[in-house]
């Protein structure tokens, strides 16, 4: 994981955590019929947050700032998803915020910083 590019780390963890976040919709019987769409959408949202957080982590090495940026991105994308449905704002934005923070943290802690990646190439 250390040798992995930070953007790839962001994409991988964004996918996993996004899918996990989407999968919890299974606990709500009224949306079980839309599980596939929710999981794909949530995974895609997680990957977008991961991509941008990973890019930021290559530029700035600070765990605190990484968490803040990740959570803001998570909140922003979750808001866009909720706005598209114009419903479930709290249910989508609150977990999106925390998932963004986790992705921001992981991209800071894992993967190769840009300078090191350049040296290896």
């Amino acid at each position: 994981m250390k040798a992995m590019n930070k953007i790839v780390v962001g994409l991988v963890f964004g996918l996993i955590l996004g899918a996990l976040d989407g999968a919890t919709a299974w606990f709500y019987p009224e949306v079980r019929s839309m599980m596939t769409g929710i999981m794909v959408g949530s995974s895609f949202k997680g990957m977008l947050v991961g991509l941008l957080s990973g890019w930021y982590a290559r530029k700035v090495q600070s765990t605190g700032k990484g968490i803040v940026v990740g959570s803001v991105l998570g909140l922003l994308f979750a808001f866009l998803v909720a706005a598209m449905q114009n419903a479930h704002y709290l249910e989508i934005m609150l977990p999106g915020f925390v998932v963004g923070a986790i992705i921001g943290f992981l991209t800071q802690r894992m993967g190769t910083p840009a300078a090191e990646a350049r040296r290896q190439n």
Partner: protein, 276 residues
């Protein structure tokens, strides 16, 4: 005529002072005395700067050449070497302002600050070993910590010096492993006054093993162990219990665990909010 003790002491001090005639230095005062010579604070008239001037007891001495070979941020740079009219060798070096490591360790310096000093000393030692130079007498009195965080290892050993008992390896012979023993003793002294840290004590104990072959092979390995400890990884010298391993992982991943806990809490909160 009888002279008072104070007068006799003053005369003795003046008589002991090296004759710097023909050099570019003005003597100020004695600042230290070691097994191989006396160190004075002096003023370099030509460059108008203060220097430390070490006057060796022996007529011929390889110490300045030894130190001049070691250009490293944690090793005091030698400016010049020369000979006094009485045949003794002297050398001028950077005058380090700060406190000796023994005084520093008596202060309330934190564990991180203490380890930083030990790491700087270890780096200097590793560098010297890579150049084929041994210290032979590493002890707190031979390490200076500057006011701006700089660390200098001084008094690089020569054949005549056999080391200081508490920091000297039991085998007597001088090689890189005997320097490792001294570095371990230094680490032990550095962490002794603080709350016991078993991992660091184990690292020091391994460095001070009576059997040289069982010690760390080089200073870099010892430093790597300290770094592993600082980064929250397991150290080879300390076999930890499963409970300690779990605690260490939890400490290392505290932020991640808090974030995951927040995620689970949020999910539970939303679930119960909906089910009400």
């Amino acid at each position: 005529m009888e002279l008072s003790d104070a007068v006799v002491a003053h005369l003795r001090e003046v008589a002991d002072r090296p004759d710097l005639t023909g050099t570019r230095y003005d003597l100020e005062r004695e600042i230290g005395r070691g097994g191989m010579g006396v160190v004075y604070a002096a003023c370099d008239r030509e460059l108008d700067r203060r220097v430390a001037l070490k006057v060796m007891d022996a007529a011929l001495c390889g110490e300045p050449r030894l130190m001049a070979r070691l250009e490293h941020p944690a090793i005091v740079p030698v400016y010049e070497t020369g000979m006094l009219p009485d045949g003794r060798v002297f050398y001028a070096m950077k005058l380090v302002s700060g406190v000796r490591l023994d005084a520093f360790l008596e202060s309330d310096a934190s564990l991180a600050e203490r380890l930083r000093v030990i790491q700087r000393v270890g780096e200097a030692l590793a560098f010297a070993h890579s150049r084929g130079v041994l210290h032979r007498d590493l002890k707190p009195q031979n390490v200076m910590t500057g006011t701006f965080g700089e660390v200098y290892v001084m008094d690089w050993g020569v054949e005549a010096v056999a080391g200081t008992p508490a920091f000297r390896a039991p085998e007597g012979a001088c090689d890189t492993r005997s320097d490792i023993y001294s570095l371990g003793a230094l680490l032990q002294v550095a962490v002794d006054r603080l709350k016991p840290v078993p991992q660091l004590r184990a690292i020091a104990a391994k460095a001070m093993t009576p059997n040289p072959a069982a010690r760390y092979p080089d200073a870099t390995s010892l430093l790597a162990e300290i770094e592993r400890f600082q980064n929250g990884f397991a150290v080879e010298a300390y076999p930890e219990s499963p409970w300690e391993t779990g605690l260490r992982y939890a400490r290392r991943s505290a932020v991640l665990l808090w974030l995951l806990a927040a995620f689970v809490t949020v999910k539970f909160f939303l679930f119960f909010l909906r089910s009400r």
